[in-house]
């Protein structure tokens, strides 16, 4: 699937949200993995996302949110099924977390620009924090399928043991946790620092909370290691219509939904 990982433009997004059926929604430590059959959906590029909403009871709830759809990275694409890793942090994710097989969701996607293959001489180094590991899972799938990525390393950081169970989405991950319950006690950028000490001929792919991404950015800038960061921002539409999702770059504000969510560190002043 070379177009999926080559950094070429992804397939076009079908115009209109699709009404899809949930096939599974399983607990994975502190997260859930929501799967939905998407027979007519194009294969996403790693790093792309979809706007999701439950068909029923979206626009409901105690204080009448969620109202807008929510953005989620594709975490896996397997046999016409899209997988999403969910963390319940508010009304939208809560509603999606409670869906069961057979329930329906609206999906608009795949959207955005995903990860691009490293320059040949560099080994891919995947760095994830918390629910931000999602796009790294599908990226690892793609790199492994490509076969070229023997030297691939995966470094993941979590709050605690329950969250660290999410690491099962990837293979051969080296872990860090804030409370030391799994792997290195500390932040994932400690691991990144050591990895780059060991071999700086790397291309970093990172996704996680803003402070982590800023640490990754600063580290990679200092060490002159190329890095692609999958960012987050509040989104209303996901397809460039609202101008709500901008993030500041060296070139000014860009819409993360169409010009991201993956940005090169070179484009970013800071996060």
């Amino acid at each position: 699937m070379s177009t999926c990982i080559s950094g070429l433009p992804a397939a076009l997004t079908p115009f209109g949200r699709r009404r899809l059926t949930v096939t599974a929604n399983d607990r994975l430590g502190a997260y859930r993995v929501l799967r939905t059959a998407d027979p007519d959906g194009p294969r996403p590029v790693a790093g792309q996302f979809a706007m999701l909403a439950a068909v029923e009871r979206w626009g409901g709830g105690e204080d009448e949110r969620p109202f807008l759809p929510r953005a989620f990275s594709y975490a896996r694409w397997q046999g016409g099924e899209a997988h999403f890793l969910l963390e319940d942090v508010g009304p939208g994710t809560h509603r999606l977390c409670e869906l069961a097989a057979g329930d329906e969701i609206w999906l608009l996607g795949p959207l955005g620009r995903g990860f691009a293959l490293p320059q040949s001489a560099r080994r891919p180094l995947l760095v994830g924090g918390g629910v931000g590991i999602a796009p790294l899972a599908i990226w690892q799938d793609a790199l492994l399928a490509e076969g070229s990525a023997v030297a691939l390393s995966v470094l993941l950081g979590f709050r605690d043991g329950a969250h660290a169970e999410g690491a099962a989405l990837l293979t051969n991950a080296i872990l860090a946790s804030d409370d030391g319950s799994v792997g290195h006690r500390g932040v994932v950028t400690d691991l990144l620092d050591s990895e780059l000490d060991r071999d700086a001929q790397a291309a970093v792919y990172a996704c996680g909370p803003p402070p982590m991404l800023e640490a990754v950015r600063a580290l990679c800038e200092r060490r002159q290691v190329p890095a692609q960061l999958a960012l987050e921002s509040g989104m209303a539409c996901g397809f460039g219509a609202c101008f709500g999702c901008v993030v500041p770059t060296r070139a000014g504000y860009v819409r993360l939904c169409v010009d991201g969510p993956v940005l090169d560190t070179g484009e970013l002043e800071r996060i």
């Binding site: 949200r17 949110r65 539409c237 219509a241 101008f243 999702c245």
Partner: protein
């Protein structure tokens, strides 16, 4: 369902609200499918200003009960780049183009209108008069007298249909509409977003951080929450003017659209609902035709 609006023939009465659909971005995302299923009978541009604008710092969005608040801040590449880069691209759409412009003085607006007048691709001009007057801080469109003098200045600058997008943050929107009509507007459109404030939410752990959430301080409320206000304003305006009215504000379904059309609106526009469902305008148009 075809409808004539200021002499422009439209396939149906559903257009987009300015700033809620970017046809060029959508073309990059959706490709030709956008053109095959273009949801709107005319395409209204995002607000264009003389000079480029970066827009407001993020965060720019807040979800409210039955609606949303935005403080986008009218980012745009400025008139020249719009006319040179975007307009030829937009002209590939199969529908008439309406260019929405804003200036903080009558002279600026006249200059914008004049530049648009020269371009055959543009079918009509919409004046966004919700811009705050630099002296008073009020929307220039909120005061009938001021609005009238602005439009009188702009009117001679173009022979194209002139739509005035009224601000809803006024004491008497019908008086503003009447002033617009009297000064030569060919149509009015309403409502723009209601001035709104979103407090920063409590952080994880419940710690509160008083202050605004939005980078722009305040924002504008749109979506179903504002529909009752939009209907009241459209109803008041339709009763006072005889030029066509474009009704918008919280329209989500064909039923909602009919509520505006029943009041006498000639066209209706879909704003925030396109964010939830990019095809909704087309579905509404179909349902209205059925």
């Amino acid at each position: 369902m075809s409808v004539s609006f200021c002499g422009i023939e439209l396939a149906h009465p559903v257009i987009n609200g300015s700033g809620t659909f970017d046809a060029l971005a959508a073309q990059r995302v959706f490709g030709d499918a956008l053109h095959e299923h273009f949801p709107f009978a005319a395409f209204v541009s995002k607000t264009i200003t003389l000079q480029p604008r970066a827009g407001n710092p993020p965060p720019r969005l807040w979800e409210a009960q039955a609606g949303m608040i935005n403080s986008i801040g009218l980012p745009n590449k400025g008139l020249d780049a719009y006319l040179q880069e975007d307009l030829p691209e937009l002209a590939r759409l199969s529908v008439p183009l309406i260019t929405n412009v804003m200036g903080s003085t009558a002279e600026e607006l006249a200059e914008l209108a004049c530049a648009c007048d020269e371009r055959a691709e543009i079918a009509a001009i919409e004046l966004n008069v919700s811009c705050p007057n630099v002296k008073t801080g009020l929307d220039i469109g909120a005061d009938p007298t001021q609005l009238s003098s602005v439009i009188k200045r702009v009117r001679p600058a173009t022979v194209k249909p002139l739509i005035v997008k009224l601000t809803p943050n006024s004491a008497d929107v019908a008086a503003c509409a009447l002033a617009a009509e009297g000064a030569g507007a060919d149509a009015v459109s309403l409502i723009n977003t209601l001035r709104a404030y979103a407090p920063a939410p409590a952080r994880r752990g419940g710690e509160r951080s008083p202050g605004p959430w939005l980078g722009g301080g305040t924002g504008g409320l749109s979506g179903p929450a504002v529909r009752p206000v939009a209907l009241a304003q459209v109803s008041a305006v339709v009763a006072r003017v005889s030029i066509p009215v474009v009704g918008m504000g919280g329209i989500q379904t064909a039923d909602h659209a009919r509520q505006f059309l029943d009041l006498g609106a000639t066209l209706i526009a879909i704003g925030s609902e396109s964010f939830r469902d990019p095809l909704v305008a087309g579905q509404i148009a179909q349902a209205l035709a059925a």
